[in-house]
């Protein structure tokens, strides 16, 4: 019974990682950049909901919608100001700018919202499920997060496979120059990717803060890095890979805390990642890289 509990706890943590990883993987797959500011967009999404519900007293659902709008606009702005001018520069330059943006968002939030931790009231009102005389507990947040993850995954897959914009994204991710020659507007496609990625970040922020209800300017950074690891774990650029990677990461983290050592949980998680990458160098579900001569 304990094992099942640890497993379910891992699943609920993993589902949060997965939903953040979806945003990471999406941006990476198309723009080929590690968007280090993704975790901080999540934090902004959390604060947007917090302000709407706690200070303005709005209905949680409206708050979530506003938060999605805020994050999407933020994502587009960041892309336009900080990433777009560097489209032709080396990927490393963009990486560094992303780090600059991450610092900027954290410090902006620090000035606006102050450093003290705020408690986030969960926007999910589904009661928890209690099995076997309360020995097994599944929270509403876990269920909603996992369902949200699956829905988003399906929608994203459909979007990419069935719509013109989605096909354009696919083309850009395969070969930017060739896509441009075929008449795809590369700039607009990349901007659209950022918009979607940031909108996903808002949803991730809401779910993260609902499941683990504290909020401060640094809330997003560690889950962001963990989710990034999850995305690599599953094969970065792969949408189902992000889901699998996130869930596995959460489960491994919690089981190693439970059965090996709570002090060394981080080290164990990262060791598993290394072993997986050594066996499968492009992650669990990543595409095989072909060698070009």
């Amino acid at each position: 019974m304990s094992f099942l509990n640890y497993f379910i706890n891992g699943l609920s943590l993993g589902s949060v990682y997965a939903i953040i990883a979806l945003g990471y993987t999406m941006v990476y797959g198309i723009a080929k950049m590690l968007n280090f500011a993704h975790g901080d967009v999540i934090m902004i999404g959390g604060f947007a909901v917090y302000v709407c519900t706690s200070s303005l007293g709005m209905h949680p659902l409206i708050a979530v919608l506003i938060s999605i709008v805020v994050c999407t606009v933020l994502g587009i702005t960041i892309e336009k100001v900080a990433y777009k001018p560097l489209r032709k520069a080396s990927p490393l330059a963009v990486l560094i700018t992303a780090i600059g943006v991450s610092y900027f968002l954290q410090n902006l939030a620090l000035i606006i919202f102050k450093s003290d931790t705020k408690l986030f009231t969960s926007v999910i009102s589904i009661p928890l499920i209690s099995l076997a005389d309360g020995k097994l507990v599944i929270t509403g947040e876990t269920i909603v997060t996992i369902i949200a993850c699956l829905i988003i995954m399906v929608i994203l897959t459909l979007f990419i496979k069935k719509t013109k914009a989605g096909q354009a994204m696919l083309a850009v991710s395969e070969d930017k120059e060739a896509a441009e020659l075929m008449g795809v507007n590369v700039n607009r496609t990349i901007s659209l990717t950022f918009a979607i990625g940031s909108g996903l970040a808002a949803i991730a922020g809401v779910l993260l803060c609902s499941a683990y209800p504290t909020l401060n300017p640094y809330t997003g950074s560690m889950p962001g890095i963990k989710a990034f690891v999850a995305a690599v774990f599953g094969g970065i650029g792969s949408i189902p890979g992000a889901l699998v990677g996130g869930l596995l990461l959460g489960i491994i983290e919690n089981l190693s805390k439970a059965y090996i050592s709570s002090q060394m949980a981080d080290a164990i998680v990262f060791s598993v990642l290394i072993i997986v990458l050594l066996v499968k160098p492009t992650g669990l579900m990543g595409k095989k890289m072909s060698e070009k001569v």
């Binding site: 304990s2 509990n5 640890y6 706890n9 891992g10 609920s12 943590l13 706690s54 410090n107 620090l110 102050k114 450093s115 003290d116 931790t117 705020k118 408690l119 986030f120 009231t121 928890l128 209690s130 309360g134 507990v137 929270t139 993260l208 683990y212 209800p213 504290t214 401060n216 300017p217 640094y218 560690m222 889950p223 959460g250 983290e253 919690n254 805390k257 439970a258 709570s262 002090q263 949980a265 981080d266």
Partner: protein
């Protein structure tokens, strides 16, 4: 092109160096310069900001009442980002400002690094909250808070002597100096008090969102009491996750847990029955606390935590010692330090965090830890 860039960078460097030179002008001599150091950005910003603000209130009050020995205080607070190297930089910046007395640093690890420097320069240092042992290893350094070993031992003794529980689980932050310091001494003292530690679970700074596994292990081990030598941010998560899991032991914490009732939106019923050893409670009804809490809320819009209270006391302790030692504004830092360190052992101060606080020459404070329990959303003394 590369050359152009590096040329430009070199020019900027030259300019910055010039800007940094020649800062050694003499002090004006009509104010007493007190410097503060702590993290006001980064993950530990909440503690630094509390100290910065708490001290500011005390400084404003003292200045409004005529200052120390008739001299106004000038107060400047520098950021250290909770990093030893940045703390030394902050200290050097304050030195260039001709600081005479140092109130800091807020967190333990940077404090140890700065103590080494204040010792070298013979500057009087009073840390509000640097709780690890080496923070006050030299005779020029004193502290307002309890040291970590003291808290660990006092907690074990309290639990043992009052028969609160015999089966205890501990959840602590193994990457934090404060938390692991308390845990270590608690674990060493526990057997002497007839306490059995059934589970000792850690988390780290990189891994502090999900505590369900640690709580589950404590639950499975049959713990009657969970000892939380951690800060209140993580404690709020632990309390709410334990509640979801239907685990309701006695929770027992140290001074880091104070502030839990002040967290915005926190469902205080979750903290019902939590016991903590703390020198300060924001809900205390005495005039001094009430006035401080009111001013703090008006000025900064938050309920002050124990760090703010420690800093407020620190400024008043500096005032008491400076008055005892007859410190004048035109004395240099070293002369002030010599006078202050003898005066510190002779004064007794009634502050927010304790009545009749006295100090020994090794820098430790003598004050009684208050055990409080949270009942109906307020602290009640035990």
């Amino acid at each position: 092109m590369k050359r152009f860039t590096s040329l430009m960078l070199a020019v900027v460097l030259g300019a910055t160096l010039l800007a940094g030179c020649g800062g050694n002008s003499a002090g004006s001599g009509d104010t007493l310069k007190i410097g503060g150091i702590g993290p006001v950005t980064g993950g530990a910003a909440v503690y630094g900001n509390a100290v910065k603000n708490g001290a500011q209130i005390a400084v404003d009050e003292i200045n409004a009442a005529g200052g120390i020995n008739g001299v106004k205080i000038e107060y400047k607070f520098e950021d250290d980002e909770h990093d030893a190297e940045k703390a030394v930089n902050a200290y050097n910046t304050l030195k260039d400002w001709n600081m005479q007395i140092l109130m800091g640093t807020v967190t333990s690890a940077p404090c140890v690094a700065v103590t080494e420097k204040t010792k070298e320069d013979n500057v009087f240092q009073l840390t509000p909250s640097g709780s690890s042992v080496p923070c006050t290893q030299y005779d020029n350094a004193f502290r307002i808070c309890f040291s970590d070993p003291n808290q660990g031992i006092a907690s074990a003794q309290y639990i043992g002597q009052n028969n609160v529980a015999s089966k205890v689980a501990v959840i602590y932050d193994s990457s934090d100096v404060y938390s692991s310091g308390i845990y270590e001494k608690f674990a060493a003292e526990a057997p002497n008090q007839g306490i059995e530690i059934v589970a000792a679970e850690a988390f780290t700074a990189d891994n502090k969102t999900d505590f369900t596994t640690q709580i589950q292990k404590a639950k499975d081990a049959g713990a009657e009491l969970v000892f939380l030598p951690i800060y209140y941010q993580e404690a709020t998560l632990i309390l709410s996750q334990a509640n979801t899991m239907g685990f309701a032991p006695i929770f027992f914490g140290c001074d880091g847990l104070d502030g839990i009732l002040g967290v915005e939106n926190f469902d205080t019923s979750l903290a019902e029955g939590v016991m903590l050893l703390t020198p300060f409670a924001a809900d205390a009804k005495d005039d001094l606390t009430a006035k401080f809490v009111k001013t703090y809320q008006e000025k900064y819009g938050e309920v002050p935590n124990q760090f703010a209270a420690d800093a407020y006391d620190a400024i008043y302790v500096i005032k008491a010692a400076a008055e005892k030692a007859g410190v004048k504004a035109d004395m240099d830092a070293s002369a002030i330090c010599e006078a202050m360190k003898t005066a510190m052992t002779q004064i007794s101060v009634d502050g927010l965090t304790g009545a009749g606080m006295t100090w020994t020459s090794d820098g430790e404070v003598n004050k009684a830890p208050k055990a409080v329990v949270i009942k109906d959303g307020v602290y009640v003394a035990l």
